[in-house]
């Protein structure tokens, strides 16, 4: 029963999404709105600005380095959290009995 309800709801969502998607610019065309002056700037000036031929690297570790820093912190957080759940105090949860 639950599956049928969710299936109907989500197929409605899918229909809306696809009908919205079809209005958007086609895949891979040069007049995409996202292929704008920002992209052209990256392509033309990344060598001059950073001297790194790999544009993805140039953006990742120079233009938007703060994102990359944030995401190394995500990794660090994951480690801390997983260790706090999995390792520390696993064998001796004596005073934490019950619900």
């Amino acid at each position: 029963m639950k599956k049928i309800i969710f299936g109907l709801l989500l197929s409605g969502l899918l229909f809306i999404l696809i009908s919205g998607i079809l209005e958007m610019p086609a895949l891979g065309s040069l007049d995409n709105q996202s292929y704008n002056e920002v992209t052209h700037y990256y392509i033309e000036n990344s060598i001059k600005d950073t001297n790194a031929p790999n544009m993805v690297s140039a953006i990742m570790t120079d233009y938007r380095f703060f994102d990359t820093l944030g995401e190394t912190i995500v990794l660090f957080t994951a480690i801390t959290v997983v260790i706090s759940v999995r390792i520390i105090g696993v064998g001796k949860s004596h005073y934490l009995k019950g619900d």
């Binding site: 969710f6 899918l14 895949l27 920002v38 992209t39 990794l75």
Partner: protein, 126 residues
């Protein structure tokens, strides 16, 4: 005919949207905890596909400039960069949820969310 042509023009977007909905369906309907995590992963992948497709230019080259190549199109490098960040985030979320599932299995002895909720409500009544 127009509809089919239009669908083919947007085939990546349509695919990723479909994957998104499939993932959402998996998360919402399955009570198995592992299947929920798998559903989350499907949704993440669908968004990555969507983002990378935005940056794709037909005939475009990889955004690495080799000396002596001129007059070529490059694909948009920004979405690829964002997705690299997104993949790492997805990995962290998956690992954390898996470790929580392992603890939950140890405590409750089952992977089924409905059964866990039953056990919990029984212990709360006491």
């Amino acid at each position: 005919m127009d509809l089919i042509k239009s669908l083919l023009d947007h085939i990546n977007y349509v695919g990723s949207v479909t994957l998104f909905v499939i993932g959402l369906y998996t998360v919402l309907t399955h009570s198995n905890l592992l299947k929920k995590v798998i559903g989350i992963n499907i949704m993440e992948t669908s968004i990555f596909l969507f983002f990378v497709s935005i940056g794709y230019i037909s005939g475009g080259k990889t955004p690495i400039i080799y000396p002596g190549t001129e007059d070529v199109y490059y694909v948009n490098p920004l979405p690829s960069t964002l997705i690299l960040t997104g993949i790492v985030v997805a990995l962290s979320i998956t690992v954390y949820s898996l470790s929580l599932i392992m603890r939950l299995y140890k405590e409750y002895g089952t992977l089924d969310m409905d059964k866990i909720m039953e056990i919990r409500s029984e212990t709360q009544d006491e």
